[in-house]
């Protein structure tokens, strides 16, 4: 059975568990105007195959498009450069019909050859893309190189057929990642290795000016293929600005959105000032902060010990340390992620119960261990709270506060018994439950250098995960989410992590900024969806 999902609405209803609806344009939106956004760190690159930072993620989304996209401010998929798509019955072939007449910023029309080129490029090891691994389910991925991907085929100028080596229910999300953006070959070649500084895409904005280390200016793409957007004429990004300084400038009316959000040191002050608090925007984030317990390092090889640690941590108190900018977590998935297990209470805070479990494991007198943590505020303070909680059940944890790269190295090498994940992991790459498993809880990530810092590897759960992701038939979406929920409940049974909290994002916008609040805390276009905000 093959079905052409010719209309957008039909395609989305079948493809997604949630009731999908496209974006309703804001009736108050006005075209025109320019806004100023600040960031502390410089923008490293705008090459969609390379960029993987806080600052450049949403910039790249505004400059480029992929075959798939999300409804603004939501985690709901919608077609992008693909007008429609067809999934074969075995879930192994995706055929995308492209929109006709879409132009790159250089004026050339986008075709199926560009789609193939872009996917070949991002998976070619020579490109050194940090996102190459996401495309692992495309046939020929293992042999990707200058010759390209055998699984991506140009059928005609407006049709691309992608063959997978295994069914992958997350594949449409993968095609919506920045890494899957469509780029024109001639512009990449012309940039001679520096496409990241001279980006050319099909997106709502084009790069007009870039003074390294100072500012970038995005200009409206008047020929953008989506009607009516973007609203803004230009967006100015000023980099090298400390978040505290950005906040002062926001109050002066010089800045519209501080890209790095509200700095922790200023949070209480902002929230207590009614004028400032009125401009704060709060949104959920697909984030979980957790403590990894290395299951290969005694005594954490005993499940009783891991459960005892879970019961010893006072999560409420830790959320207070960050001024309540988070909700206590019960499980690996954040509440806004599909597949989250409603009604599961997790391990309750119970000091006596924790002591009893330790005694059961033969460690009634406790033990000494190391807790690794990234050395920027508030993480060392959180580690101290964890240290105190552990001391209450007789565990002496020595805090190893190091630079981010060094903690990641120790985690990958498996030399860290405990790690507090704050500042490093884990924010979802795409809104699907599988993204919280494979790299950080599955066997694939448990090897040397992987991001599974617990080195937890349960083959039974891995098999369930594979089974869940093979259910690519949209009609089986519910069944798939149930399976994922079971996987995470299985993880909690083995307790390789202490899920601590799910962070919420607090940001601000100037008085004159218009558009739904969700656009300023967009779960996908992090941190701001520049295409849909406007000036009042």
């Amino acid at each position: 059975m093959k079905t052409w999902l010719a209309t957008t609405a039909l395609a989305l209803t079948l493809a997604l568990p949630a009731v999908a609806q496209d974006y309703t344009p804001d009736p108050n939106a006005k075209a025109g105007g320019s806004i100023t956004i600040t960031y502390k760190d410089d923008v490293a690159t705008l090459d969609p195959a390379i960029g993987y930072d806080w600052q450049n993620w949403s910039m790249i989304k505004s400059l480029f498009d992929g075959l798939m996209d999300y409804v603004p401010g939501t985690t709901t998929l919608r077609p992008g450069l693909a007008e429609s798509y067809e999934i074969s019955e075995d879930g192994l072939t995706y055929t995308f019909k492209l929109r006709a007449g879409v132009k790159f910023h250089n004026g050339r029309e986008m075709t199926a050859d560009d789609v193939k080129y872009s996917l070949d490029r991002v998976t070619n090891p020579e490109t050194q893309s940090p996102g190459a691994g996401f495309f692992g389910s495309i046939a020929g991925f293992e042999n990707a190189g200058p010759g390209g991907l055998s699984g991506v085929e140009v059928v005609d100028p407006l049709t691309v057929k992608i063959t997978l080596s295994r069914p992958d229910a997350t594949f449409l999300h993968v095609m919506a990642l920045n890494f899957a953006s469509v780029v024109p070959k001639e512009a990449v070649d012309a940039a001679a290795g520096d496409f990241g500084k001279q980006p050319v895409g099909t997106g709502a904005f084009k790069l007009a000016e870039w003074t390294l280390g100072q500012r970038l200016v995005f200009e409206k793409n008047a020929e953008y293929w989506r009607d009516g957007v973007p609203y803004l004429d230009s967006v100015v990004f000023e980099v090298g600005q400390e978040p505290v300084v950005a906040l002062l400038r926001l109050q002066n009316g010089e800045v519209d959105v501080p890209g790095d959000g509200i700095p922790p040191a200023k949070f209480v002050e902002v929230m207590n000032d009614p004028a400032q608090a009125a401009r704060v925007v709060v949104g959920g984030q697909l984030h979980t902060g957790y403590i990894t317990l290395n299951v290969t390092t005694p005594p954490f090889d005993k499940v009783e010990v891991r459960k005892a640690v879970n019961m010893a941590i006072n999560k409420e108190r830790i959320t207070q340390i960050i001024n309540g900018r988070a909700v206590p977590a019960t499980q690996p998935l954040p509440p806004s992620m599909p597949g989250y297990t409603e009604g599961y209470a997790g391990y309750a805070y119970d000091v006596e119960g924790a002591k009893a479990l330790l005694a059961e494991a033969g460690l009634a007198d406790g033990f000494e261990t190391d807790l690794y943590v990234m050395n920027t505020d508030p993480n060392p303070r959180i580690a101290q709270a964890i240290q105190q909680d552990l001391a209450a059940i007789g565990i002496k944890a020595n805090i190893q506060s190091l630079a981010q790269a060094n903690v990641i190295e120790a985690g990958g090498a498996g030399t860290a018994p405990m790690i507090w994940s704050g500042g490093m992991a884990w924010i979802a790459d795409f809104p699907d439950p599988s993204n919280f498993y494979g790299p950080i809880l599955g066997c694939a990530g448990a090897g040397e250098g992987g991001w599974n810092w617990s080195k937890f590897c349960d083959e039974g759960l891995d098999a369930m995960a594979v089974q869940a992701d093979s259910l690519s038939d949209p009609a089986k979406a519910e069944e798939r989410l149930k399976l994922w929920s079971d996987v995470y409940m299985g993880v909690m049974e083995k307790a390789p992590w202490v899920p601590v909290f799910n962070e919420e994002r607090y940001t601000m916008k100037s008085e004159r900024m218009g558009g739904d609040d969700a656009l300023y805390v967009d779960p996908v276009s992090i941190p701001v969806n520049y295409d849909y905000v406007y000036v009042k």
Binding site: T45, A132, D194, G213, Q241, V245, A403, P439
Partner: protein, 305 residues
């Protein structure tokens, strides 16, 4: 001529030594740059592949040899994460750093020399002691604290200057003063002792005896002689400046090479770290060399050997 040649060879050896030590330090760093490039979705094969492409799987001496060979051709390599040529990144940021340095030197000279002259003229009196105490404080004050203090008082509270950033002369004032305050302490002490010595000289007494005014004696007769040893110091000073610039650029959001280095360190972007270190070392060596070569031109009593 022989002297110049010898100094040039010495300078080249110093730079070679700096490059070697920096390379060793970055090599033994317990953070793997390849992991930063490969990203968290990378498989072990991807990581190995990138390691090979960058030549990071080679023994230390091979890596260092390759770096030197490229360097000899003026190639500082490409940034691991930005993929841009390191020389382009440094060149685009160098004007901002040079501008800040020049302004910093002017600020420290104005502050330091006037304090030194004033102290020398009030030698032994309370004003002298106060000025010399101030110079102690400015030499020891951490630049991070000084810059935040200046930013808070003059930009946030009084609103006289913009709150960080780059572009106009107004943006330059606070960071330049921050740098100047540190250096002014050294200069004021040197200027004071040099001036005190000159003021004791016979020709000054003669000038006074001729009936010349105090101001004329100080500024026409004493100052040109007293200032000579100070000028030679400016070249050496560049080293101290390079250290301060990383801090000051970060706080004030000044888009120079200090800020570039700071961000590269956080991301283990080794080619940038190497490049900025070498350029800074080059500036310091060049500064010292110039100071030594210029000294005999302005003071014939100094002979090169």
């Amino acid at each position: 001529m022989v002297y110049v040649l010898r100094r040039l060879i010495q300078s080249a050896l110093i730079l070679l030594g700096v490059s070697f030590i920096t390379f060793v330090l970055l090599y033994v760093l317990p953070a793997d740059p390849v992991r930063q490039i490969a990203g968290r979705a990378a498989t072990a094969e991807t990581v190995e592949n990138i390691r090979q492409q960058l030549g990071l799987d080679q023994p230390f001496l091979v890596q260092y040899g390759r770096y030197l060979a490229a360097l000899a051709q003026g190639d500082l390599g490409r940034s691991y994460l930005q993929k841009t040529e390191v020389s382009d990144l440094i060149l685009s940021r160098l004007p901002a750093t040079l501008q800040l340095m020049a302004a910093g030197i002017v600020a420290e000279l104005i502050l330091g020399l006037s304090m030194g002259i004033a102290a020398a003229l009030m030698r032994g009196r309370i004003g002298d002691q106060l000025l010399m105490m101030t110079s102690f404080v400015t030499v020891s004050a951490p630049q991070f604290v000084v810059s935040l203090l200046l930013l808070y008082v003059f930009a946030v509270k009084l609103g006289w200057f913009p709150i960080g950033g780059y572009g106009t002369l107004a943006h330059l004032v606070l960071p330049a003063i921050t740098l100047g305050i540190l250096g002014s302490g050294w200069y004021s002490r040197m200027m004071r002792s040099s001036m005190v010595e000159v003021l004791r000289a016979d020709y000054i007494r003669t000038a006074r005896a001729k009936g010349l005014g105090r101001a004329r004696v100080v500024f026409r007769h004493a100052l040109p002689n007293a200032i000579l040893p100070i000028i030679a110091m400016i070249g050496i000073d560049i080293g101290i400046f390079m250290g301060g610039i990383v801090v000051v650029e970060s706080v004030f959001g000044w888009p120079g090479i200090g800020q570039l280095a700071w961000q590269a360190i956080q991301r283990v972007d080794i080619p940038i770290i190497m490049g900025v270190t070498l350029v800074s070392a080059f500036a310091i060596v060049l500064g010292n060399l110039l100071a030594d070569l210029v000294a005999p031109l302005i003071d014939p009593r100094i002979r090169l050997r």
